[in-house]
């Protein structure tokens, strides 16, 4: 972008409403820029990658653990499939599963937190007790238990991760809602006799957006890393799915011969997670929200 265009764009944006001004600010922070670049790259790869794969992910193209060469730029995996093609196809599962889990977690946790924080009283007590039970449970353990009960599959992963994240989210939303309900402008609305739904919509939700966006980054990262771990352990997706974490598990024995079978997917997972963290951190810092996690919540 030429200087004048970006200058004019930034000038336009500066006269725009706060949300658009935020975009301009994002472009200024170095870390956020790197984060956005990484994130965009991975997202692009996930969306259009499969179209560029030289071979189908299940095709055998050469001998197992072949080193990089023509037709298999990153070598082959433990059966002989093209690593590059599998890598290009393998991001979808991680990203989509993590996305689904995070959305579920927010729907569940967000609703519980909002209701508990606004209605207060006994409802709040009951809801938070239930939440406390889940907080006292080791995360991995819960999902493993679920998998024992219903068998390993992708939706166990989604539902499991969704459930284990909702307690913390509900706490965050509850705290934010509690803080808001005491604020003068919310009380003025209550005094006017506005309906609860209207107050939640007009007064409370817009002010929770900030908390939510700042919180979303670490949550999504957690989902991604947990999805990867579960797929690696064989509790979620299993071979022959071209999932990045499954690839890491499958190709470990051949690490000495062709590192790419393990390194390529590992690198992509790492870039995705780091990018989200950079973007999330920069946002939280700008909004003056501490990026340091509450020591009481693991």
């Amino acid at each position: 972008m030429s200087a004048s265009v970006s200058g004019r764009a930034s000038g336009l944006l500066s006269r725009a409403r706060p949300p658009l001004r935020a975009v301009r600010r994002e472009l200024r922070s170095g870390e956020a820029a790197v984060g956005w670049i990484g994130l965009t790259a991975i997202v692009l790869l996930v969306i259009v990658g499969p179209a560029f794969a030289p071979a189908a992910p299940s095709d055998i193209v050469a001998l197992p653990y072949a080193t990089p060469g023509a037709g298999h730029l990153l070598g082959t995996d433990f059966i002989g499939r093209d690593v590059l093609s599998r890598v290009l196809n393998g991001g979808r599962s991680v990203v989509l599963l993590a996305l689904a889990a995070t959305v579920l977690a927010y729907l569940l946790g967000g609703t519980i937190g909002l209701v508990a924080g606004f209605v207060r009283g006994r409802t709040d007590g009951v809801l938070m007790r239930a939440v406390d039970v889940f907080l006292a449970f080791p995360h991995m353990l819960f999902i493993l238990l679920l998998a024992t009960g219903v068998g390993a599959s992708w939706w166990v992963v989604v539902v499991g991760i969704g459930i284990i994240q909702s307690p913390q989210i509900s706490r965050v939303f509850r705290a934010a809602t509690l803080q808001l309900t005491g604020r003068g402008f919310v009380e003025a609305a209550v005094a006017r006799g506005e309906a609860t739904a209207r107050i939640l919509r007009r007064e409370i939700l817009p002010n929770i957006v900030t908390t939510f966006v700042a919180d979303a980054g670490p949550r999504f990262t957690f989902s991604i890393l947990t999805v990867a771990a579960l797929n690696f352990l064989g509790v979620g997706l299993r071979p022959p799915a071209p999932d990045w974490a499954v690839m890491i598990s499958e190709n470990r024995p051949g690490l000495q011969v062709n590192v790419w079978g393990v390194i390529a997917p590992a690198l992509l997972i790492a870039i995705l997670a780091v990018s989200i963290n950079l973007v999330g951190d920069a946002y939280a810092r700008r909004r003056g929200i501490s990026t340091d996690v509450d020591p009481a919540q693991p």
């Binding site: 003068g184 006017r192 002010n207």
Partner: protein, 594 residues
Amino acid sequence: MTELVLRADGLRIETERGAPIVESASFGLDRGEVLGIVGESGSGKTTTALALLGFAADGVRIAGGTVTVAGRELTGRPEAEIRPLRGSVISYVPQDPSVALNPSMRVGTLIGEILRTHAPDRNDAETVRAALRNLQLPADDAFLRRFPHQLSGGQQQRLAIAMALAAAPAVAVLDEPTTGLDVVTQARVLEEVKRLREASGISVVYVSHDLAVVAGIADRIAVMYAGSIVEIGSTSEILHRPRHPYTHGLISSIPDHAVPRRLRGIPGVAVGVGERPTGCRFAPRCPRRVEACETAIPALLQVAPGHDVRCIRAGDAPPVALEAAVRMREAAPPILSVRDLRAGYRSRAGEVVAADGVSFDVRRGECVALVGESGSGKTTIARVLVGLHKPDGGRIELDGRPLAATARARSREERRRLQVVFQNPYDSLNPRQTVETAIAGPLRFFGISHGRPARVEVAELLAKVRLPERLMHRYPAELSGGERQRVAIARALAAGPSLLVCDEITSALDVSVQAAVLEVLSDLRKELGLALIFISHDLGVVASISDRLLVLDRGRLCESGPVDDVLRSPEDPYTRRLLDSAPTLPVLAAHVDS
């Protein structure tokens, strides 16, 4: 001539990026003297106070000038040389002791530490106890073992003062030491300070935003505005014949229950660091400005012995002229009647009684003030009136018809006619809504339109609270505290109420801003015939705008009557105690033409 015990010369303090906070502060302190430094937000008074100890907070640096205390220099020298002087030659009493005292150190350790550092030969149990007794604090072992959070607010502040005096410094700097304390405790702490000054001959720099408090204790006063001292002189000179327009405006805006009068605010907004205009910093708000004021900063010049002013028109300063407060005379029918109200709430300490059989009436167009200290129950009563809190018993009637306990159960008409404005300006508006949206909200909700688009209505309401129309598109974060409160008032007015409940709406604002908001409120009352329930802990504010006064003592209505009667001849001992503790400026009586 006595040798000055403290001397500040041309102090210049900047942020790390070079924006000036304090531009040029010069003053001296005689032995045994009390100098008051008065200023509002953005004046730089706290920064100046810290600089007297050679201290600059994070992101700030002392860029120029000198500070000398008892012959020792505190500026321009390495930290290691200045440090031994802090606490021993000059010491500091912080504004908020509840956060300034280390929560994990006991009382005895806190004082002992000061002695260990600055007076090791006197560091023994007896000296520690003496330091406590000096401030009328208990000196037994149990008290020495307490942690700060186990002390009351007043005790914490006295402990902070005891620590400041433990090493017998030559100068003590007190930075708003009574903010956050209730009026009675504040009076007690001030008495302590006065007594200590007599007893030990220590010199004091007393920094505050409250001119009335400072006038009660200081020998000389320096008034600061936007980073410079604009006037300095003896207390009586400043109060009788202020020469600087800002000081003038400040005195006109100070509420005083002994001299009930109309308060006049200073138009405009206090300037923040980095927004200062060229030329005289006060010029944009000054009623006496001329063209020359905007070109150059005036120098601090003497107008009388010991009295310096930074204004080119100091010579023709008019006397302070104040108007007596106006009271409502005609009797009108009651619009709200409260009978035997009982309400309470549960806090961590148990059940708190907020209202214990409270009864009163509010007549049309009348302003009734509800006064009491914090914890007296006034806020709860306000919330009960607007339907935010369920009472335990009693009746409330609006125009003769009983009101339901919760807002939701009331009729739309009832809710519309009774509106509320709360204390905290940072709370009263939704940060994600523009001013226009905020004010238009009630218009839309109550279905009010006089055949005109909402925007026109909003503009008119803004004009009523003396705010420019262009503020419509701003977000609350871009407004000052006073502007926000006025928007909150406009929003309440949008519903077209007959009765407005104001819960400490000006307590969080600077004195001059408070006066401006109160001015707006008085004018609105007259114009709209609005009845007002005004809740406050400040008797001076109440004296200036209300017609009748109700005094609340821990939920019990202990006195009520026409405001002038109650203030002049209180019957209840609690009322008397409140009146005695509230600082007054008797000199103001001389300025009022009745």
